[in-house]
């Protein structure tokens, strides 16, 4: 199934794009998609514990199951003001 990842701020910088579509096995969780992304971009691992995931516009925990066509937003905290 396909999942669209939305990257913001520092994550967007590290991934090098605001959006990307990934192919994942059916039933994959939000955490699984994040782990794949962090494996591809090792710099993400250092902010893993303070980054939140949102599925289709609502914050979810890592174990939330995804469906084909879901949008997974990856939200690091921003510090600036």
């Amino acid at each position: 199934m396909r999942v669209r990842i939305l990257a913001f701020a520092g994550v967007r910088e590290i991934v090098g794009a605001a959006q990307r579509t990934v192919e994942v096995p059916a039933g994959a969780t939000a955490g699984r998609v994040w782990d794949d992304l962090a494996r591809e971009f090792p710099r993400l691992s250092e902010i893993a514990r303070s980054t939140r995931l949102a599925r289709n516009g609502a914050l979810v925990e890592r174990d939330a199951a995804l469906q084909d066509g879901d949008e997974l937003a990856v939200m690091p905290p921003f510090g600036g003001g």
Binding site: E13, P42, I47, M75, G80
Partner: protein, 377 residues
């Protein structure tokens, strides 16, 4: 000051607010609510600028401006409440002057101290609404905790480059800790000073915060409580995310462990596996070590800063792909602008088998301070 004395009825300043009085949701009753309201703005920087300007113009009766910083030239690109001549002045004082110049009916409390655990709760207690316009994670957790412990709404905003976040944390709903349970490790999320920020984004996000603060005072509309907005100035999109209260939130969950404000210190970064070189020692080190080379991992757009001529440039984002261009038997001093990306790059090279590695502490910015041929940004 009692409500009677603050009443606007019959006062000349009514004309000033006529465009508010024409809106049924505000009207005279709303304008009087604004005149009686007290708002604490923590941080008089990029976000604080529009917040202060619009709250003052709207006739908020009392505004506290808490900031211990002075105006720096690099602030002027987005902190439009300050004039060129304010550089070097205390922000709380300079901003207070602008607020009074804009609306002399506003009482202003310039507070030139840092919000800290010793004063946060007492300060927050003096106001009705608190605006988090700070620029550090420690301050954000402090504002959040003090607000929740004192049952005050926290109007949150933060920015990075083209992206901003806005929300409202009110008692009975999710708080900042529910959304971000812990701060990122030291140095892993760049500040505006490290990563940059689009000046106008501060205006966009701060204006959202001003709007939310005014709605909370007026008791009108639907606030951002329970919702987080992400303002994407690059693609001109605003996305909304539903937040939920964390039943295990240490501040207000079923078994709260935080009963008073404490300093929130981000976890230190993983210790460096390679030795560090002080910026002032770099020239000497490179001269004394014939095979040593400065490895500049800044991104190409950051390199307008200039670099020592002997440096080899491999941007951090290209390090994986271009590692074969480097010789693991050689000596490298890894450097970036401020020393955050280079930490990661040094670790990565070490993992890949490079052993003669050094890390430039404080980055090329610190090096430039002692080398006049480089501009300091």
């Amino acid at each position: 000051m009692n409500a009677e004395k603050r009443s606007l009825a019959g006062r000349r300043e009514l004309r000033r607010y006529s465009r508010h009085l024409l809106i049924p949701e505000v009207g005279l009753a709303g304008q009087e609510k604004l005149a009686r309201a007290r708002v604490l703005v923590v941080g008089a920087g990029g976000l604080g600028t529009p917040v202060l300007q619009y709250l003052a113009a709207a006739g908020v009766g009392r505004i506290g401006i808490c900031d211990d910083d002075v105006v720096d030239e690099t602030n002027l690109q987005r902190q439009v409440i300050y004039a060129d001549a304010d550089v070097g002045r205390k922000k709380a004082v300079a901003a207070a002057e602008r607020v009074v110049a804009l609306n002399p009916h506003v009482a202003v409390d310039p507070i030139s101290h840092r919000l800290d655990v010793s004063n946060a709760r007492e300060l927050v207690r003096l106001y009705d609404v608190v605006v988090d316009a700070t620029d550090s994670f420690g301050a954000r957790y402090l504002v959040n905790d003090a607000c929740r412990l004192e049952s005050k709404p926290d109007v949150y905003g933060s920015i990075f480059r083209f992206d901003g976040q806005v929300s409202v944390f009110v008692p009975g709903g999710p708080c900042y800790r529910c959304v971000f349970p812990e701060p990122p490790p030291e140095g892993t999320v760049p500040t505006c000073a490290e990563g940059g920020v689009l000046g106008v984004l501060a205006g966009l996000v701060g204006t959202w915060q001003a709007n939310e603060a005014l709605k909370l005072i007026l008791g009108i509309g639907r606030t951002l409580a329970g919702r987080l907005l992400i303002v994407d100035a690059f693609d001109a999109r605003v996305r909304e995310f539903a937040l939920a209260e964390d039943p295990d939130c240490p501040l207000h969950g079923t078994h709260p462990s935080i009963v008073d404000v404490t300093e929130v210190v981000p976890r230190p970064q993983a210790p460096l596996v390679v030795p560090e070189i002080e910026p002032r020692e770099l020239d000497e080190f490179l001269e004394a070590t014939p095979d040593a080379q400065l490895l500049d991992v800044r991104e190409p757009h950051e390199a307008v800063l200039g670099a020592p001529p002997s440096a080899i440039a491999v941007p951090a984002t290209q390090l994986e792909a271009r590692m074969h261009e480097l010789d693991s038997a050689k000596t490298y001093v890894v450097a970036c602008r401020v020393g955050a990306k280079s930490r990661w790059a040094a670790q990565r090279l070490h993992d890949a088998g490079f052993r003669r590695l050094y890390h430039l502490r404080g980055g090329l910015l610190a090096y430039a301070v002692t080398h006049e041929e480089f501009e300091v940004f």
